[in-house]
Symmetry: C2
Subunit: 326 residues, 2 copies
């Protein structure tokens, strides 16, 4: 079963609930305090918790033959925090579960924990609990994040036909190193929602070619993307020049299909995009934002660099079985 099929099977197993307004299929789930509905003045969105779990496995998401325990811990936490960015929330707490290989000594365990703690501390987020075990298998790190819904959380499902489709940063080639060292776009997401009405947002973990269809599916819309507008990272150019990668060849296709960008993909109405452009970057060091296309009523269209409209590529990183289902 392919990843998306398994996600659909799981979603079908889970009945809708009034206390879970955002469920499997978004970057984080939203859980509402049940009593909030019956107490006058308490039914506010402040009584919602956003939740996420994400795992990081040795020789899948990092490689201890190359990367340090500290770098692995940092990435594990930052992957989870990237989902907080995708919901435009700030993390309130991190939980940490670690299955250590038997070869791990005290220094290894402490370095791993330090990497996790420092990544969370960069966003003033405490590690509040955890679970550590030892086994004769490779390192597995699992991170759960909780956030309070301070304002309306930005889900994947709000995109509307006519919206501008935008991304932060540049895409592609993260395998050359950025997948271990990225900073979650939490601050940029806060600036985005402060400056404009962002209708839908997600983080790019499996590549634009795989992730944009997910956002469209959740919103019940289509999209047209102009390949020439997709911001290409220098690493994608390097990969293309080296002839490496996942079977794609051009830098633009790397930008479309490579995973682990951890950039934000978002949509907003055209007037809001115009307004946002006028006030961005909101702060020094604010990232690049680029409009790459337009939300449509249905279907997925990729306009190639020659201006020819064509089919959406099958690229992106679809795992053999499900990866992210919440």
């Amino acid at each position: 079963m392919k990843e998306n099929d398994f996600l659909r099977w799981i979603a079908a197993q889970l009945p809708g609930r009034a206390d879970v307004p955002i469920n499997v299929g978004d970057d984080m789930a939203a859980v509402r305090r049940p009593e909030a509905r019956s107490e006058p003045g308490r039914g506010s969105i402040g009584d919602m918790a956003l939740l996420k779990i994400d795992q990081c496995l040795d020789q899948v998401h990092f490689d201890l033959r190359v990367h340090s325990a500290q770098a692995a811990g940092r990435k594990a936490v930052n992957r989870c925090l990237s989902d907080c960015a995708a919901m435009a929330c700030r993390p309130a707490a991190i939980l940490l579960s670690v299955a250590l290989p038997q070869t791990a000594d005290d220094a290894f365990a402490q370095a791993l924990f330090t990497g996790c703690r420092d990544a969370a501390a960069a966003f003033d987020c405490p590690i509040v609990g955890g679970d550590t075990g030892v086994w004769d298998q490779r390192l597995a790190i699992t991170v759960a994040a909780m956030a309070w819904a301070h304002s309306r959380p930005v889900s994947r499902s709000g995109a509307k036909a006519g919206d501008a489709i935008c991304v932060t940063g540049q895409l592609g080639g993260s395998i050359l190193g950025r997948h271990m060292t990225f900073t979650p776009r939490i601050e940029d997401a806060q600036r985005l929602v402060a400056l404009a009405d962002i209708r839908a947002m997600m983080d790019l973990s499996d590549g634009l070619a795989m992730d944009l269809p997910r956002l469209c599916h959740m919103s019940g819309v289509g999209a047209q993307v102009e390949l020439a507008r997709v911001p290409v990272h220098a690493d994608a150019v390097r990969l293309a020049n080296a002839g490496e990668g996942t079977g794609t060849t051009t830098a633009a296709m790397h930008a479309l299909a490579d995973g682990e960008d951890y950039e934000l993909l978002f949509t907003l109405a055209q007037p809001e995009w115009t307004k946002l452009q006028g006030s961005w970057p909101a702060a020094p060091g604010g990232c690049q934002i680029t409009r790459i296309g337009t939300v449509t009523g249905g279907g997925l269209v990729l306009v190639d660099v020659a201006g020819m409209a064509g089919k959406w590529p099958n690229g992106g990183w679809e795992h053999e079985t499900a990866r992210t289902h919440g």
Copy 2:
């Protein structure tokens, strides 16, 4: 580094925070909504979320050569829910992370998920998100639970000298099968806090000999336990008769030292214990509760079956490196 040493090291890395009133070292962490403090009438305990993460590893916590995927999933969720029982809360949401072995087929993944879902559904708790990956290692299941603090959460730190020390159920020998099939004491915990002022509580996962000292440490108290009063499970008798186990020999020592009872250990003032005895069981099917000793000002004393006060045993299940630190 031994488990308790690693827990202390981690705790020392985490600064105290006003928004984390219960931190690493209890059964669940408590996270307070920061704004709750500054809004009149909003600083109530209802704005606290309780959080827990717990992992279940193949050939550590279950064994797929013996147990089904569904049984493994059920145990993984129930272990986490047992911590909800320990805090006397009801779970509001479960997150699920699974690292599947490459040999796992669709039926395996679906059975695993079904086991998880059914365990949560038994307490009307939804699975709200997850993460599934595949690797060439054995199955690892990680479960995170969130609960709302409806009333004062019962932590490990409230025990006072003179309190009665009590346990639910019978202890020991869970390795014969109960460690896979137990029901978390969520309903019994609800009845306990409804009927009496429970001052401190935890669930017994590593054995009374290991866990009671933890509760005492968190409360800054000591304990005297009478071995003759410890309720011995028939499985502990079976183990003792078979001469098996962890080096201990008598059934009573199995009850003291075996892990994975998933019973509740709690303390309450003597008058409250008298009151509780008069109204228990509160419902048909309510479990046995037994007073096994008394909280003291300091030190740990085990009164043996002959009535001789002696040193606390070194038994219990201390993992080579830390296991539960939150």
